[in-house]
């Protein structure tokens, strides 16, 4: 509770939380609050490339203009929020679960198993992540599930290292020895005494990883390897806008601003969580 209060007292972090909550609301409510349908194309030759703040020939007002198929950009941006937020949070959840599993197992097991697991972690870290992502996504059929899994499975390494270091440090603490001396079984020792205290740096790393995951998803979509069109995602909207950069720059500009807002909010939130959890800066 004190952590939450410390987090919200930090003006920057509070702002970031507000932005993230707003994005989550837009993502959840997009079908109901968006002005129109993200797929509807009217008389395409007359409604395409409408600049922001104009009404189409059919009288429909487009606050942020239309794209090369005459689809309402604000609507598509709102629906794109769903994909970015889903991938951002779910893939990080996958990374956290995997990273904790590997890191904690290594720390508890020790010996050869620990060294093998950490060598695997280092090997994965040495792999250029994007190359791995490209290979995985391109070789299988692109879908939301695949994108979440692939970003999650290529992002657990730093969390595994953090979790292992933290658990190892805690296992050497006198209070853990005391718990062990009272006859606590290993499971209780782990879940009750070690893990809750090891989670702090993991939470910080996870918060900072959300922004990275959002960027990666949009990047894959930009290369045409993300969630397949016509589903609107910020990345494939930018890719579509790139072809009309001269005549309709807003199509490529606006989704990028959305990405920057989401990523900056996640990063500021991560920094805020770190400061709030770190008693020395409070």
């Amino acid at each position: 509770m004190t952590t939450l209060r410390a987090l919200l007292r930090d003006r920057w972090a509070a702002g970031a939380v507000a932005v993230l909550v707003m994005l989550a609301l837009v993502a959840a409510l997009a079908p109901w609050i968006a002005p129109t349908d993200p797929y509807v194309q009217h008389d395409i030759l007359r409604t395409r490339f409408l600049p922001p703040f104009t009404a189409g020939p059919d009288g429909v007002f487009h606050l942020l203009g239309t794209d090369h198929f005459g689809r309402d950009l604000l609507t598509r941006l709102m629906h794109g929020t769903r994909i970015s937020m889903t991938v951002g949070f779910l893939s990080v959840a996958v990374s956290v679960v995997m990273g904790c599993a590997v890191g904690v197992t290594a720390a508890m097991a020790g010996g050869v198993a620990e060294r093998a697991l950490m060598a695997l972690t280092d090997a994965m870290l040495a792999m250029p992540r994007l190359v791995l992502l490209l290979a995985l996504v391109a070789l299988f059929e692109p879908s939301l599930f695949l994108v979440v899994m692939v970003i999650g499975f290529t992002g657990w390494m730093s969390i595994a290292r953090l979790a292992r270091a933290e658990v190892k440090g805690l296992l050497a603490q006198p209070y853990v020895d005391a718990a062990r001396a009272t006859g606590a079984p290993p499971g209780r020792l782990l879940f009750r005494h070690v893990l809750p205290n090891a989670l702090t740096p993991v939470i910080v790393a996870a918060a900072l990883a959300v922004g990275n995951a959002i960027t990666l998803e949009s990047g894959l979509a930009f290369l045409g390897l993300g969630v397949p069109p016509p589903a609107p995602s910020w990345g494939n909207m930018i890719a579509g806008g790139r072809d009309a950069l001269v005549n309709a720059p807003w199509i490529a500009v606006l989704p990028g601003i959305a990405i920057v807002v989401a990523v900056v909010a996640s990063n500021v939130f991560g920094d805020g969580v770190r400061d709030a959890l770190d008693p020395t800066t409070r």
Binding site: L139, L223, G256, I259, N267, V268
Partner: protein, 331 residues
């Protein structure tokens, strides 16, 4: 010192080996048939089988792996399925472009990042500091490909449309102009640099933003340490304290950051090369993956992994050079 390097190098070789093996397995398990690249669109099963046998793709996976590894170690990297050119030739053509681009942006990233970070730390809690902090937060949050598109929009299209001065207009495609061969040697060099400008700035801007954040924090942390106060009490010159006492020690962790940032830098070049039609490794890898060009994917992955591992090893060595404590321990 020597033993340390040897251990790390051995581990590095093992790592590259592991990465290559994993890629090989992954690629071959994935759905899709590379043989189709070799035959006419309407080919039947008989033609496919012949082509498969000719390409050696009908053999069992472990045998193919052993054969590939033996050839790869001997320097025979096979022939590209999509381009029908020797893979080694493709890599040799592409690698210098990627090294030029990533090397130039790496230098710019660390020079710029150190300067900006140190400046912020010196002007701590002023309007300057806040402005730069907010700017770097925003730039750091930009996807490399979007920043690239925005730079093209500004310095290529807008610059041309609104008639900006020539030195503010930059080309958006390739490494040289079509008429580069007719330019004087000096003109050709300028032409190359102008083509390098936008891709390099894209990568460096994001790099500078990240590094500056780190340098600012590191400098402020070191400045609060006891020995700095002791140096101040002894009346040392301001420049000596700032430079030799604070900045030098604050920069130590940056060297590790350098090693760790290499994979991210190569990921960045993939997008940037794609957008600017820069004929480097990143563009090769995107087109190879898209066309299931297995030999090229394998070779480029191996090269990328080697570059990353070598970079980490170099960072490790640099660290030992920069930190006398590490050298002494080994003696």
């Amino acid at each position: 010192m020597f033993r340390r390097v040897l251990t790390r190098a051995t581990f590095g070789v093992a790592l590259v080996f592991a990465v290559v093996t994993a890629t090989f397995i992954l690629i071959n398990l994935a759905p899709g048939d590379p043989v189709r690249l070799w035959v006419a669109p309407g080919a039947g099963d008989a033609e496919l089988a012949v082509a498969r046998r000719a390409l050696g793709l009908d053999r069992a996976l472990p045998i193919r792996y052993a054969a590939w590894l033996a050839n790869f170690a001997r320097g025979d990297w096979g022939v590209s399925l999509a381009q029908q050119r020797p893979v080694a030739r493709i890599i040799l053509d592409a690698l210098p472009h990627t090294i030029l681009l990533s090397g130039a942006s790496l230098v710019l990233t660390y020079l710029g990042g150190t300067l900006v970070g140190a400046f912020q730390a010196a002007r701590r809690r002023t309007t300057w500091d806040t402005t730069v902090t907010v700017t770097s937060l925003i730039v750091y949050g930009m996807p490399a490909y979007w920043l690239a598109v925005m730079l093209v929009l500004t310095f290529t299209y807008a610059a041309a449309r609104y008639g900006w001065p020539g030195w503010l207009q930059f080309p958006a495609l390739g490494v040289a102009s079509l008429d580069a061969d007719f330019l004087s040697p000096w003109g050709r060099a300028v032409d190359r640099l102008r083509h390098l400008a936008l891709p390099m700035v894209t990568l460096a801007a994001i790099g500078v933003a990240g590094t500056a954040r780190f340098v600012r924090g590191a400098v402020l942390e070191v400045r609060g340490l006891e020995y700095v106060r002791a140096a101040r009490a002894r009346g040392l010159a301001h420049a000596v304290i700032e430079g030799r006492y604070i900045l030098r020690n604050a920069l130590l962790p940056i060297i590790t950051l350098l090693g760790l940032s290499l994979p991210a830098l190569f990921s960045g070049t993939v997008f940037v090369e794609f957008i600017f039609s820069w004929p480097g490794m990143g563009r090769e890898i995107v087109s190879a993956v898209a066309s299931r060009d297995y030999p090229v994917v394998m070779a480029t992955t191996a090269i990328f992994a080697t570059l990353v591992v070598t970079g980490n090893l170099l960072a490790d060595l640099l660290y030992a050079v920069a930190d006398p404590r590490l050298r002494r321990e080994e003696r």
